[in-house]
């Protein structure tokens, strides 16, 4: 099937839904505090772009998401390398990791609120916690699963542990580490929006809640669609980067 045909098929269903919704709204002369027609949502969205409100909110959310990803991800990366390379450390930390990992990041919202109040620090703290774990676990697995043969090569070449880690282990584990960050990025965005929806008066999540509370369903839908686009776009961009960077990698990475 040609690419164009595939794309058309993919669009048919959602487009059809939107058209039906629009017609239904027009036919019933929709006037509601909870529902809005797709056209109204698009108009509201356009306004929100024009006056910059949605853009500011986007920047806030992304700043929180990436800030948390960077912080939690880098700590997770370091510990993941440690646990993956040093079996002793991995064994000793097993219980602690198992005990702390299942804590839902949202459970820490009140804790962060208590310590930081509202704002960027609170959200970044929670996003960091949430991003830390997938990066830790997947990096540990990636490092631990580096081909044993490569370790033999390192020994034969008499590399120091640091040189071995930097020149052999990390490059070998890199594709899977990249996947870890890709997953963590999705989690970071989700957690950021969740914090904003539930408590923090910042960003896209808060924008949605404001729209809902002020009885502007069309604006709320516009925000929802935009969040979806951001989430999809982020994933798309990272997946493409992954394909580009690791196309020739021997490890098949999905």
């Amino acid at each position: 099937m040609t690419r164009l045909a595939a794309v058309l098929r993919g669009i048919a269903f959602p487009l059809g839904l939107v058209v039906i919704a629009q017609i239904a709204a027009m036919v019933s002369h929709l006037q509601s505090d909870t529902l809005a027609s797709p056209a109204a949502a698009l108009v509201a969205g356009a306004h929100a772009f024009a006056d910059g409100s949605i853009l500011i909110a986007t920047v806030q959310t992304l700043a929180n998401a990436f800030g948390g990803l960077a912080l939690g991800g880098s700590i997770g990366l370091l510990f993941g390398i440690l646990l993956g390379s040093v079996v002793l450390a991995d064994r000793l930390m097993e219980f602690s990791v198992e005990a702390l990992r299942p804590i839902p990041s949202v459970a820490l919202i009140p804790v962060a609120m208590l310590i930081f109040g509202f704002g960027f620090r609170m959200e970044i703290a929670i996003v960091s916690f949430a991003s830390f774990w997938p990066v830790l676990i997947l990096t540990r697995n990636a490092v631990a699963n580096v081909d044993v043969a490569l370790y033999d090569v390192a020994r034969v070449l008499r590399l120091t542990p640091l040189a071995r880690t930097v020149k052999i282990v990390l490059p070998a584990a890199l594709p899977r580490i990249f996947v870890a960050f890709r997953l963590a990025a999705g989690i970071a965005l989700t957690v950021a929006v969740t914090v904003e929806v539930s408590t923090n008066p910042l960003g896209l999540g808060y924008g949605m809640m404001l729209a809902e509370q002020s009885l502007h369903p069309e604006l709320m839908l516009a925000y929802l669609l935009w969040i979806g686009i951001i989430g999809w776009g982020l994933n798309f961009a990272i997946t493409n980067a992954q394909r580009r960077l690791f196309a020739r990698s021997p490890q098949a990475v999905r």
Partner: protein
Amino acid sequence: MNARIGWRLASIVVGGLFILAWQFIASAHIVSPVYLPGPDRTWTALVRGFASGTLLAQLLQTVQRMLLGWLLASLVGIVVGACIGLSRPARAYLGPTLEFLRPLPASAVIPLGIAFFGLSDGMVLGVIAFGALWPTLLATVHGFAAVEPCLYEVSRVLGMSRLAVIWKIALPSSLPDILGGMRLSLTVSLILAVVGEMLASRTGLGSGILIAARTFHAPDLYAGVVLLGMLGYITAQGLFAVEARLLRWRAVR
């Protein structure tokens, strides 16, 4: 076997050391007790909360929401996912939409839920079920779409009916994917239960810890967080055990 137990104990000891460190930091007021109560005060709050029945009531509410929403979502996800996964035209038309919805933060539909259902139990349950639906649905679609084609040929050669093929070949083959999706769905349902409770002020651990934070009752807050961690752990382990039993046949790597 003995070595395994030995290491396990060692790691528990290390965990204990961390708790001691926590106690030290709290007692020595390195961090203000307003923000970081020690394990002693947290434990006291935990015991007190259960003794008075409050924590138990909250825990049960959260568990109930979480499991109900998760089961509902899993059921719908598996049935719909199977239908989509088994039908190539359905996959062609719906696939891109599903892929677009995959990275959508589940909490983004909460305002929508509030708009429709208000701040009610029904809203929380609906949001949980909706959010928990996607991981299972997507995993089921993938599982049913990825059945080993040779097995379909085997079924043709043996003259199996369509129903028999779905029940005896497609479903067991997809089970690993489905269970993996259900595990993710469980995580999502816990998160949305907590968030939903916070927002709608329904009785539960979520609202409990939020109130504790707002009233600066840090020990109660930490007790609730510990409880939520344990809830996450126990439910995840439970599902792991079920998975291990159902998927005994997998090659040990």
